[in-house]
C-alpha cells in the first residue's frame, strides 16, 4: 500500500523524526493559513498524488509543475488554486493523470548536503537492514552501480533492534559532524521505531539532508507497509486512498480477490498465485498479452468467482478470457458453477477458454457441457494458452 507524502509526514511527526515543518491543505485558504503560520519567506507547495515526477509534471489546465517555491502566503494561495481540483500528468501517471485533492505546504530548507537512508527487510538474512549513503537526492540504484563504496549496509538483529551505537556508527559513516551525531542518531533510532511499530516493509528517506544551519532532516520519506500486518494498524489502513488505485483493483479487493491490472487484452482467472503468474507467462510465450493477474485463492466461493468474472468482462480492453484451474482445495464443480452463474449474469461479450483439472474435474466438466454455454474447453495449460491467444487475435 502506498501513502501520500503528507501522510508520511504525519507518521514522521508522530515518531519525532525531524523533518521540515508544514501541513496539508484541501483549499487555497487553508494553504495560505498554513503558509502564514510557518513565518518564513522560504515556502514550498507540493501537489499530493501517488506518483513520482511531480516537479516536472504539467496540469491539464496548462499550469506547469506540481512542486513550487513561493515567498508569501498569498503566492501559496494563488498556486494552490491552480493545483487543487486539477489533473496533474507526470511520467508515472499516464495520460489520464491524477486529480489533486490536497497540497502540502512546508518550509523550504536550504540544503548543504543530501544523504540517503533506508530501512528494509532483507530476505537473505531474514531481518532488517539499513542502507545508507553519502550520495542522496539521486537514484540509489545508480549510486550502487557506479560508486558502490559510497553505500553502507548495516544488519539489525531482529530480536535486539537498532542499537544506539549502531545509529552513531551510521551517523559517522555518513560524515555527519561530531556536534550533530547525537541529533542524527536520534533521528535514525526514531525512524527504526516507526518502521517496527507500523510493520513497514520499507522506509526510504531520500534525501536525508544537512541544512545550511546544520540540522539533520528527513526531507522526503517513502513508506511501504506489509499488507499482512495492516489488520493491526487501523491508522495506516485509514491512509488508503482508493482514488489513487486502479478501479479494477479496488473492486477486486472488496471481494478479497488478489487482482493486479495490466495492459494486455487476455484476461485470466486462476487459482493460486504461482499458477496465476505462470498462466500470464504462457500467454505471453504464445504471443498474447495478459490483461491482469488474478488469483481467486484456494477456497474461493461461487460468489467470488462470479464477482471476479464481472471485473474481467467490465474491462473494455479484454478480447478473450482464460480460466485456468488446478483444483486442490478448490473444487472444479464450484468453479464451473461460478462461471455459469457469472456468464448468465453478465452476458459474456468475448470468447472464453476453460481449462479444468484436479478435484471433482469430471463433475465440473459435466456442468459446463450441460450448461449450453459458448466456451472452448482446453485439455492442458499449453492447449489453453494457444486457444485463448488465437481467440483474442
Amino acid at each position: 500500500m502506498n501513502i501520500h507524502e503528507y501522510q508520511a509526514k504525519e507518521l514522521l511527526d508522530l515518531f519525532q523524526v525531524a523533518n521540515s515543518p508544514g501541513g496539508v491543505a484541501s483549499t487555497p485558504e487553508e494553504a495560505e493559513k498554513i503558509a502564514a503560520s510557518l513565518q518564513t519567506s522560504d515556502l514550498v507547495i507540493k501537489a499530493q498524488v501517488h506518483a513520482g515526477g511531480r516537479g516536472k509534471g504539467t496540469f491539464k489546465n496548462g499550469f506547469r509543475g506540481g512542486v513550487h517555491l513561493c515567498a508569501t502566503p498569498a503566492e501559496i494561495r494563488d498556486t494552490a488554486s491552480r493545483m487543487l481540483g486539477e489533473t496533474l500528468v507526470t511520467h508515472q501517471t499516464g495520460e489520464a493523470g491524477r486529480v489533486v485533492r490536497k497540497v502540502l505546504v512546508a518550509k523550504s530548507v536550504a540544503i548543504r548536503k543530501e544523504l540517503y537512508f533506508a530501512i528494509l527487510i532483507d530476505r537473505a538474512v531474514s531481518g532488517p537492514v539499513i542502507v545508507a549513503s553519502t550520495e542522496g537526492g539521486v537514484n540509489i540504484e545508480e549510486v550502487a552501480e557506479h560508486t558502490p563504496e559510497k553505500i553502507f549496509h548495516l544488519a539489525v538483529d531482529p530480536l535486539l533492534g537498532l542499537q544506539a551505537h549502531q545509529a552513531r556508527k551510521l551517523a559517522r559513516l555518513l560524515e555527519i559532524p561530531s556536534d550533530r551525531v547525537k541529533e542524527a542518531s536520534a533521528l535514525f533510532e526514531n525512524l527504526y521505531k516507526l518502521f517496527i511499530a507500523r510493520d513497514c516493509s520499507m522506509v526510504e528517506v531520500n534525501p536525508l539532508v544537512i541544512t545550511t544551519e546544520g540540522s539533520i532532516l528527513a526531507l522526503d520519506a517513502k513508506f511501504n507497509f506489509d499488507d499482512n500486518a495492516l489488520y493491526r494498524h487501523p491508522d495506516v489502513q485509514a491512509y488508503r486512498d482508493i482514488e489513487e488505485e486502479d478501479p479494477r483493483e479496488v473492486e477486486a479487493s472488496k471481494f478479497n480477490l488478489s487482482y493486479i491490472g495490466l495492459d494486455g487484452n487476455i484476461a485470466c482467472l486462476v487459482n493460486g498465485a504461482g499458477l496465476a503468474m505462470a498462466t500470464m507467462d504462457i500467454i505471453k510465450h504464445h504471443g498474447g498479452e495478459p490483461a491482469n493477474f488474478l488469483d481467486v485463492g484456494g477456497g474461493a466461493t461461487e460468489q467470488q468467482v462470479t464477482e471476479a468474472f464481472k471485473i474481467l468482462v467490465a474491462d473494455s480492453r479484454v478480447k478473450a478470457i482464460l480460466v485456468n484451474i488446478f483444483g486442490g482445495i478448490m473444487k472444479c464443480d464450484v468453479i464451473a458453477q461460478g462461471i455459469i452463474n457469472a456468464v448468465k449474469a453478465v452476458n459474456l461479450p468475448v470468447p472464453l477458454v476453460v481449462r479444468l483439472e484436479g478435484t471433482n474435474v469430471e463433475a465440473g466438466r459435466k456442468l459446463l457441457a450441460e450448461s449450453g454455454l459458448q466456451l472452448t474447453p482446453a485439455t492442458d495449460i499449453a492447449d489453453a494458452a494457444r486457444k485463448v491467444v488465437a481467440a483474442a487475435a
Binding site: 538483529d157 510493520d199 499482512n228 486462476v270 493460486g272 498465485a273 505462470a278 505471453k284 510465450h285 482445495i329
Partner: protein
Amino acid sequence: MSILVNKNTRLLVQGITGKSGGFHAKSCMEYGTNVVAGVTPGRGGELFESKVPVFDTAHEARRETGCNATMIFVPAAGAADSILEAVDAGIELVICITEGIPVLDMMKVKAAMKSSSSRLIGPNCPGIITPGECKIGIMPGYIHKPGAVGVVSRSGTLTYEAVWQLSSRGHGQSTCVGIGGDPINGTSHLDVVKMFNDDPGTEAIIMIGEIGGTAEEEAAEWIGAHCQKPVAAFIAGATAPPGRRMGHAGAIVSGGKGTAQGKIEAIKAAGIEVAATPADMADALLRRMAR
C-alpha cells in the same frame, strides 16, 4: 525412500477444531497419514473424528502421544506463536500452512529458531507429501504417485501442475515439498535440494521458483557445483510488473532484484534444464535425464 516425512511420521494438527484445520486433518487421515493428536486451546479432552485426542497445548500433545511433526492451521494473527509453541515442545518438523503472517512476526520466529533443532516448512505453503506414505497439507493426494522424482516449490498449484505432468507420464515422486510463498520462510530451495541429493530414493529433482529474493539463484549455484542428480526448473513471473506483489507476499521484483530473467540465467549457468513454460516442467526433467 523419501525426505522429511514417511509412514513413521506421527502428526499433530494445531488448530484441528477449526474449519480448514478439521477439513484437512480429515483428508490427511483418509490418505493414510498417522494423525495422533490435535491442539486447540480450551478444547483439551475432546476427540476429533471420535478418535484423535485434542490437547490444550502442544507440550501436552508431545508428552502424551510422542508426535514428531505438526501441521499448523492457526489463523495468521496467532500462527507465529503456534510455531514457537511447537518448537518449544520439541517437535522436530513444523509445517505451517497459514497464509498472511506479518513479516516482522516471521522475522522473530526465524531468529528465535536459530538455536533450536526443529525444522520449519512454510509458512503460506501447501505442505509436504511422500506419496503412498504420508500427506501433511492441503494438496490433492490422488494426483501423486510413489516414485523417484523430488519436487520443491514456492507455489501450491504450480506444484500440483508439475506432479500431474509427472504422474501422467508415469513418473512418481519421492517427496514433494512446498516451501511457501512468503519472503521469510523456514526452509529454502537449497535446504530441500541438499536433502534430495542425499536421499537414495530420489533420482531427479524439479525445482519451481518465482520472482522475488535470491533463493533460486543460491540453490542453482550449489546445484551447479555439487548436485549429483539431474535437475529441471521453472521460474514463474517473467511477465509480472516490477514493484507489485503478485499474490504471494514474497513474489515481488524490487529495485531491479529478483527478476525471472536473472533467475533463469543463474539456473542455465548451473546446467539445470529450464522449463520454457509451466506446461513443460515434466518434459524438461525428462530431457535433462536423457542427456
